[in-house]
Symmetry: C2
Subunit: 374 residues, 2 copies
Amino acid sequence: MSKPSPHLTVHVPLDGGRDYDILIGRGLIAGAGGRVAALKGRAAVIVSDETVAALYAAPLRESLEAAGLRSGLVTVPPGEASKSYGCFAAVCDGLLAHKVERGDLVVALGGGVVGDLAGFAAASLRRGVRFVQVPTSLLAQVDSSVGGKTGINSPLGKNLIGAFHQPRLVLADTATLDTLSEREMQAGYAEVAKYGLIGDAGFFDWCEAHWAGIFSGGPERDEAVAVCCRAKAGVVVRDEREDGERALLNLGHTFGHALERLTGYDGARLVHGEGVAIGLALAFRFSARLGLCPGQDAGRVANHLAMAGLPTTLAQVPGGCGDADALLDAMAQDKKVRDGALTFILARGIGKSFIAPGIDRAEVRAFLQDELAA
Amino acid sequence: MSKPSPHLTVHVPLDGGRDYDILIGRGLIAGAGGRVAALKGRAAVIVSDETVAALYAAPLRESLEAAGLRSGLVTVPPGEASKSYGCFAAVCDGLLAHKVERGDLVVALGGGVVGDLAGFAAASLRRGVRFVQVPTSLLAQVDSSVGGKTGINSPLGKNLIGAFHQPRLVLADTATLDTLSEREMQAGYAEVAKYGLIGDAGFFDWCEAHWAGIFSGGPERDEAVAVCCRAKAGVVVRDEREDGERALLNLGHTFGHALERLTGYDGARLVHGEGVAIGLALAFRFSARLGLCPGQDAGRVANHLAMAGLPTTLAQVPGGCGDADALLDAMAQDKKVRDGALTFILARGIGKSFIAPGIDRAEVRAFLQDELAA
Ligand SMILES: NC(=O)c1ccc[n+]([C@@H]2O[C@H](COP(=O)([O-])OP(=O)(O)OC[C@H]3O[C@@H](n4cnc5c(N)ncnc54)[C@H](O)[C@@H]3O)[C@@H](O)[C@H]2O)c1
Ligand SMILES: NC(=O)c1ccc[n+]([C@@H]2O[C@H](COP(=O)([O-])OP(=O)(O)OC[C@H]3O[C@@H](n4cnc5c(N)ncnc54)[C@H](O)[C@@H]3O)[C@@H](O)[C@H]2O)c1
Ligand SMILES: [Zn+2]
Ligand SMILES: [Zn+2]
């Protein structure tokens, strides 16, 4: 029945009985049933997107049913557009149609889109039912499945509607990444590299040497996912509601979000991780320009991201991204920007990021103009 | 500017910095600005229904603006149908269009529909902004504005989607009840009487003597609202997530909800409080029949509710409510019914209610048949 698969474990020690485990390894889906059943619900209803469901819903349901859980499946179309009010309603009603009671479980099977949407539905259904994350994209395994942020988009902006709702268990089956597209893999890798750049120079060194094993599915993949989860979990436990340190996780994201906005959130042009990759390179070059960070560190960052197939300059944004003022305006709409003052995450070197509030607008403008002219 | 209006105060001592005050008195809306401004947001955006907004939004906004807060107004149509996914999205987007930031406030101005809807929107907007309740129906002042339950209806059932989200302040301006329809006033009164019946025989005595003052707007009105808020707040603080004692607040509601369901939630036929009034009378007559409660207590309950203009028998349900089996089926769909076993709130007398699990279906059936034949 439940195949004993070797795996790594990251414990997330949240208070109030909300602590949980993240298990990381190849083949965890086949053994998911026993682990989910241990949470003592009677039903476990899966939420997934059509692409991921076609690949992994059957073995997951089989495992759940074999462990004595009644299972069910609710799907949405793949893609960011499913993080909508309409899909929220459809998922909630789908879960209700599957008779999910207060003691039952919602299982999010998919990338960050499914995790965010299903997590918000679980938070809201009967004012809160428990949920399990089974992240299947690299981005979801190293980032979105950890931390308890759930939500959907409004026509007025991304991730503006949601809840803090922690999962009871995260099963990161790293074998599922074998079917992920090269481009989504690269995009997720930008977030992997980010953890090294934020606060773990040793991990960035290791990435430079071992990144190919992450892509090919060697043991380095599991190790990298575990390091990232441990890093994010640590930050989340120390700053669950993002009042302070958690902002460091946004390294590369102020620039990145602006680029996503300027490309109309059109994944065909730029996916989130690509925006982050350019943003990371920009954050380091901007730090170097301000005299905060050695120029060779900025160079290493860009070289490594490029090696992994990621863009690192504004010129690489397909269809362009407008001029410096358009970029500044797009940045000013970011949640991290308050009272018109620009707050950046900058770095004193690889692994030495910090929150830099009150950055001068003119300084950013001049930097962006030079980047655009380069 | 802020008129000093005499008022009663009920403090709700929730932990984790979530404690708040309920102020009760005539004219509190005119002085709301200073009290809301003391919560230190920069903007306070009102959510209301069109009926209530026409009556009270202007003076409330004036008071908020005079206290230096930027104000705004988002309205929905009056009525239960507004507790929908569509209105949830419209209210969230309306609040975003008014640029509600994480430190700002949402103000729910209206009956229980507006309170539940606006509260869920506040809980979800940017994963949680603070909100203030300004309840304007008797039901909202004594029941729905206290306790932190917020939510909307799904096509699959009432109140199935929502969040626990406590207000930061409740301003129950009892003068607003002067414009409430007689029927809504009576419906709310069923919940007032309920508090006496649950656990405060002295308050029920007082109600028998003073109910007319509650309806006419004498000082008895403020006193009754305060007693009810204090009773509900006490239960909520002891059992915030409704795992135990809070279930007592459902006295009369298992029958009441079944009647609402069987009349298609058509307020023209039966509003919630009317269902509760019949439910209270039934709960006491059923308790008496089981030999738990003196027959004269059941008689007093029905007499008093009838005096206040409320229905107390199944025969008074406009259009009828089907036979005993239809009633049992409708009850079995209630959230309080698990594993097919019927759990009732029964009473050993006025002010002596208790949770009675495992009530025999046949016993209930026989009782209902007699009630229908009476
Ligand atoms: N909650 C958080 O803390 C947090 C953090 C970061 C990002 N996010 C959110 O995550 C979302 C992005 O996540 P994402 O990049 O995983 O996007 P996604 O969920 O859309 O997945 C990307 C694509 O890959 C496909 N896919 C996923 N797993 C697959 C697999 N194993 N095999 C084949 N195809 C697979 C999906 O069907 C989809 O088409 C965004 O909405 C973002 O806002 C949330
Ligand atoms: N959250 C909780 O704990 C809780 C508890 C009990 C009930 N509820 C919910 O409360 C809702 C019922 O609340 P309600 O009875 O207040 O209904 P409501 O909000 O629909 O108000 C009833 C009617 O009275 C009107 N009205 C309200 N105040 C008025 C005033 N001062 N003057 C003139 N007209 C006024 C409204 O426009 C509406 O037409 C239900 O949806 C129920 O589920 C919630
Ligand atoms: Zn990211
Ligand atoms: Zn009620």
